[in-house]
């Protein structure tokens, strides 16, 4: 008898729960949907979100801190020391810019968005923007180049830098030669050392 009751009870519960479920779904049919029609509507993103990096290159003093802190080495920077005749001016926080930056590349394909590079920046020129739509067809297009020098300038600077280093080298050689021309001093030193 009990199992017969159970049988009818089961049927009753099954039908009842289906009806309850259907009333719930019917109510949801007319509630406002939560969809955001993305490309046309967007949710505001929080101010602390970490997205595309931006380097305001005119403020960058080339201090190399961001490059060293990046855990995945996605920032590549080349620097050339200023020549005596150059004046690069001041960064916005007042520190003097002593380096040309022919290259400041951030490979966003490698970036893990940890944001560590933005903290040490002394002039606060490396920041996270709220831009998050930069998918590309080529992986190389994800390397963002921030230098404000054009290729000709870069070539000239490199040439100049090369000449400067050659001259330095020459000077070194000359001083070395002069040093070698005084054998007494040098030989005596080495003799003392051993």
């Amino acid at each position: 008898m009990q199992s017969v009751n159970q049988y009818f009870l089961n049927i009753y519960i099954a039908i009842k729960s289906v009806l309850i479920g259907m009333s719930i779904t019917f109510r949801h049919l007319f509630t406002k949907s939560v969809t955001v029609q993305y490309p046309r509507e967007r949710l505001p993103i929080p101010g602390t979100s970490r997205n595309l990096l931006l380097n305001k290159i005119e403020d960058c003093i080339g201090c190399d801190q961001c490059v060293r802190v990046c855990p995945v080495n996605c920032i590549t920077m080349d620097t050339i020391k200023v020549f005596p005749e150059d004046d690069l001016g001041l960064a916005s926080d007042g520190s003097k810019k002593r380096l040309w930056l022919p290259r400041f590349d951030i490979d966003m394909a490698k970036c893990c968005y940890c944001g560590l590079c933005t903290y040490p920046c002394p002039t606060e020129c490396l920041i996270m923007t709220d831009e998050y739509e930069y998918a590309t067809y080529e992986r190389n297009d994800l390397v963002f180049k921030f230098t404000d020098l054009d290729p000709i300038q870069i070539a000239e600077l490199k040439e100049k830098d090369h000449i400067r280093s050659m001259e330095k080298e020459k000077k070194k050689l000359e001083t070395a030669k002069q040093a070698a021309a005084k054998p007494g001093k040098n030989g005596g030193k080495s003799g003392e050392g051993t």
């Binding site: 289906v18 259907m22 779904t25 406002k32």
Partner: protein, 353 residues
């Protein structure tokens, strides 16, 4: 060879066209059949176009989403875009499959879905062929889908396909029983197997529909038919044969492009078909619910009732989770079948006294 003993609207129209008088009657009959087949193919295709969109919209809104929104006004053209995509897709036939059966299977499945449309009494004068064994014809034809599905599953040479086909065959064959018994209830109440006669015997207001007039037996029979027919056309919550989370897509796993879309069309055709059968047997077919509304033509009522049932299909699909195989069989043999017998018995007594 061709007798006019059953009413065929297409043959009648062709007969009346004087231009075609030079044709021998056999050719006229063939022409009428081809036209009827084309008409119902397009009915299914257009219904599927609309129903898929409606289903996706309803699914979306039930889940508090929007559903398709981009193609056309609120995504109305979405299914059309999908259909075009399917048409231009590569027709992949994997290696190691039984090519002939593989190609034939969707044709058989779709054919059975199409063939049942012949006997639907859409309106008072609108029925392709008022067979005197109409409902028996439907039961007979719709079981032909089982060989089609088994062919699809077997020829695909794929485990998922075979599992899906086995499940589907088991499910359809067992649910034939409650479906058949529920149909018998309506047939007993009407005293005829002809679809048109069944509809006519429910004339005169909605309280004469079998769902209400033989309360509660008619209602139980309707309920059993509705649930069992859901299982027979593999709709959720009985969609074990194509359960995505278990067996990929069941017997359709290896199909792509147009062949796959024929299965899909057949699924929606079947939805329309079981909706139409339930309407005919229990909801008074093209009869108006109250005589006040009799200015609205019969086909409109028939379509409206069928569409309502299709909507309930969709609604149920997005409400209920999938059943387990043992639950499925429990429900068929231990719940629906006994209750169908009870309602047959009840209607039998009712008709006797």
């Amino acid at each position: 060879m061709i007798q006019a003993e059953y009413y065929n609207i297409f043959v009648k129209i062709i007969d009346q066209l004087a231009v075609l008088d030079f044709l021998p009657p056999v050719w006229k009959f063939i022409l009428a059949s081809v036209i009827a087949a084309l008409v119902f193919f397009h009915v299914i295709a257009i219904f599927a176009l609309v129903a898929i969109w409606v289903e996706r919209k309803v699914a979306g809104h039930i889940q508090d989403r929007l559903g398709p929104m981009e193609t056309g006004w609120h995504g109305v053209l979405q299914t059309l875009a999908d259909a075009i995509k399917l048409l231009i897709k590569e027709d992949i036939i994997a290696g190691g499959i039984d090519r002939r059966l593989f190609v034939l299977a969707p044709v058989i499945v779709f054919m059975t879905a199409l063939a049942v449309f012949v006997v639907f009494p859409v309106g008072e004068n609108f029925i392709v062929s008022d067979l005197n064994i109409g409902i028996l014809y439907i039961v007979a034809i719709s079981t032909l889908v089982v060989p089609g599905i088994i062919m699809a599953g077997w020829s695909s040479n794929n485990k998922w396909s075979l599992f899906g086909a086995m499940r589907s065959a088991a499910q359809i064959v067992s649910y034939e029983v409650p479906v058949g018994l529920a149909i018998v209830c309506a047939v007993m109440a009407a005293g005829s197997l002809s679809m048109q006669t069944i509809v006519e015997s429910q004339a005169g207001g909605f309280w004469n529909w079998f769902i209400f007039s033989k309360f509660p037996f008619g209602f139980i029979a309707f309920f059993i038919y509705f649930v069992a027919s859901l299982a027979e056309i593999n709709r959720t919550p009985f969609d074990l044969p194509e359960a995505e989370s278990e067996i990929v897509a069941g017997y359709m796993t290896e199909y792509s492009g147009m062949r796959w879309s024929f299965f899909f069309l057949a699924e929606y055709g079947n939805m329309l078909a079981v909706g139409a059968i339930a309407t005919t047997l229990f909801l008074g077919g093209w009869q108006t619910p109250i005589s006040l509304l009799s200015f609205i033509p019969g086909p409109v009522w028939f379509t409206a009732k069928t569409m309502f049932l299709v909507f309930v299909h969709i609604w149920l699909r997005w409400t209920l989770p999938r059943l387990r195989v043992d639950q499925l069989m429990y429900m068929c043999w231990k719940v629906l079948t006994p209750f169908a017998f009870v309602s047959i018995f009840g209607i039998g007594l009712w008709m006797t006294f």
